[in-house]
Symmetry: C2
Subunit: 462 residues, 2 copies
Amino acid sequence: MTDSRLAALQAAAPDLRLKTEPGDLEHYGRDWTRRWTPDPLAIALPGSVAEVQAVMRWASAHAIKVVPSGGRTGLSGGAVAAHGELVLSLERMNKPLAFDRVDRTLTVQAGMPLEAVHNAARENGLEYPVDFAARGSCSIGGNIATNAGGIRVIRYGNTREWIAGLKVVTADGEVLDLNRALVKNSSGYDLRQLMIGSEGTLGVIVEATLRLTDPPPPTNVMLLALTSFEGLMEVFAAFRERLQLEAFEFFTDIALKHVLAHGAVKPFEEVHPYYVVTEFAIGDEAKEAAAMAAFEACMEAGWVADGVISQSDAQAQQLWRLREGITESLAPHVPYKNDVSVRISRMPAFLKETQALLGQAYPQFEVVWFGHIGDGNLHINVLKPAEMAQDQFVRECEQVTKLLAQALKAHEGSISAEHGIGLVKKPYLDSTRSPAEIALMRGVRRAMDPQALLNPGKLFDA
Amino acid sequence: MTDSRLAALQAAAPDLRLKTEPGDLEHYGRDWTRRWTPDPLAIALPGSVAEVQAVMRWASAHAIKVVPSGGRTGLSGGAVAAHGELVLSLERMNKPLAFDRVDRTLTVQAGMPLEAVHNAARENGLEYPVDFAARGSCSIGGNIATNAGGIRVIRYGNTREWIAGLKVVTADGEVLDLNRALVKNSSGYDLRQLMIGSEGTLGVIVEATLRLTDPPPPTNVMLLALTSFEGLMEVFAAFRERLQLEAFEFFTDIALKHVLAHGAVKPFEEVHPYYVVTEFAIGDEAKEAAAMAAFEACMEAGWVADGVISQSDAQAQQLWRLREGITESLAPHVPYKNDVSVRISRMPAFLKETQALLGQAYPQFEVVWFGHIGDGNLHINVLKPAEMAQDQFVRECEQVTKLLAQALKAHEGSISAEHGIGLVKKPYLDSTRSPAEIALMRGVRRAMDPQALLNPGKLFDA
């Protein structure tokens, strides 16, 4: 601890845990993107809101840049610290603080993993319904900072819908106690909403009060094999019309190949080009009949070639693994990830155009498609050939992302549906937000963090 | 049209409709508050987004203050123009623009009355579920600018939850096309959310894309007579536990007295101190049995003294009128209105304290209580004695509002649940928002409207 700035920090907050070992700098300096070389000044691991305030007061006084840090499972480089920033990790602030049965809220520290939030809600007989595969390692604070979506958005919406209150430490070390779980509060600008999805650039989220809901109904999981991409929207419409969908996810045969190679159980004898995993409420005969009717209608129309319905929880999990295991199974191939969205009604035209575009642009690469068709959200993963250098691969992919961004602009879509902009999508922000919007965002940023201390260079250059 | 500024505006937008007759200045210069003397420069009634842009470019160039104006049914003075502002009325921009069956969205111009929005949704077999008594005269743009709540919040949330996209004209005449109805869009600050509830101080809402939902289930309406305020939360818990509540509203015997004097039908022979109107889903025997079980449990516990359940749509409307007619029936008494909220769990303690406070403070006034108990939202209307001058009455009421604001601060509540801050609640904003929050709000305002042209003096002094 020879750095005088860190000595000043330690003097200001004597009990604050600081790490400066090279292994720690590397570990905490990066997220699930692997493109940047971590190089933080140090890692601060506060144990209280007061310690977070002390860090930000020190950062303000010394003009030190700060990267707020959760589970670092992000895919857009939003938690990367590669330029001497202090990493402010919330990992020790990971506890539930209060449950209220009347308000149906759970107040937690921001570093609490999503899965622990799920469990704490269930222990109280209720549900926090936002969910995705990184649940075990991502933190609720990070979920809020990116307005995380996931596999239940079709039924429950994004993280934003579930945030009743936020406690935030500002760039100059003030605590904001935003909305305080009020159901109705029309008293000026909703800064809570502004913080949600701001990727750590407007304040450090330290606590959140989450709305909970009733436990989900009993459900079944169905896996469908589809004959063509065109049929996908038709199948979605047929199911949505008849059933209360809890999830409706799709993936391609190439995605399946990787998941099976990673240990999942093969669902069908034959190979089909497209697959859907859908989960829907059951519990009475009418609903089960509706599920069969939807399936049969799709078979008769020729959109679906085969299908299986879960007969047990174990089988439901097995079917889900085919979808949820994709990201992990692709990781060894260092994929270049696109996470785009359009309005649901624009999906067919956008899909057609994008397939043609990528078929032309990526003949040399393996491209894996999957995503949340019911939310208009596609994940397009391009896999790096083993022999190709990472730099060259990223360069080639970025050429195509430019074309994709143009298509998104034409279709009024978004370059980031749920991962956030971070560093990875920053060059393409103007495909989704107009110059006037970006100028206003910069103005808001200056109003909230005049020194541009918080997560600098993410989202836009300060 | 001798004013050279108005001549310049007319030259910039030759087809723009302008009104300067004294009767028009008075009509468009005030809202449902009657405390300020209207004195606008003129009324502009644009017919297109381009004309709104022209108005704002002119306003920027000439530093003219502008009051965006919808149905002017607001109760906080948010649409008052008393200092030579231009009133920018959206009243001619009142048409539906597009319906999308796949996205389940309805795009409308901001001046469309809420009731016309309801009808347009229903014509397409869907529902826009935000609702309140001013539906016939308020505009959707005004609803959005105050994040209006109303009688269905307990089931459907506030206006905020239903806004998929917003088109906004900024202070300098740029058009922002915010979120464009994307379900998932994590691409920087959600300026759409910032606009919702900003009371016309950050931009002029010109179009909105609204999410629609399934038509409501068949429902019954029940009117309950309660023996004490203490029983109210118990009755709410008993009903919420057993039924899918679409609404749960309460009012007092004094409120009932005024509604009956205004022509409503007397529901019970005897007078009771408190009443609840609740609406809940029916449609099968289990649900109807649950409703009876809830009612009987409340009778047995002694919380409920009498009750009636609707046997027809006509009777349901008759019961609803007892609650919905209150505001209109009080209008001749020029009420001083408080619209406060606390977390639902804080309701019992806050109610007790507030009742004691107002009993002491207002022995000379008639005080009418009603509101949305399931959202933690109380309306407390103080009626002006006929012989008292308006100024003195308001002065006396404001003394009590100071005490109420202190109680709200202690209970972490809000001085404005759903009416907005406007001019009326501006002196009490700091009971709900901290100095740091207010400073950040001012900063955001400066970023979005550096000349402070939009709705000046509302929410806070610019």
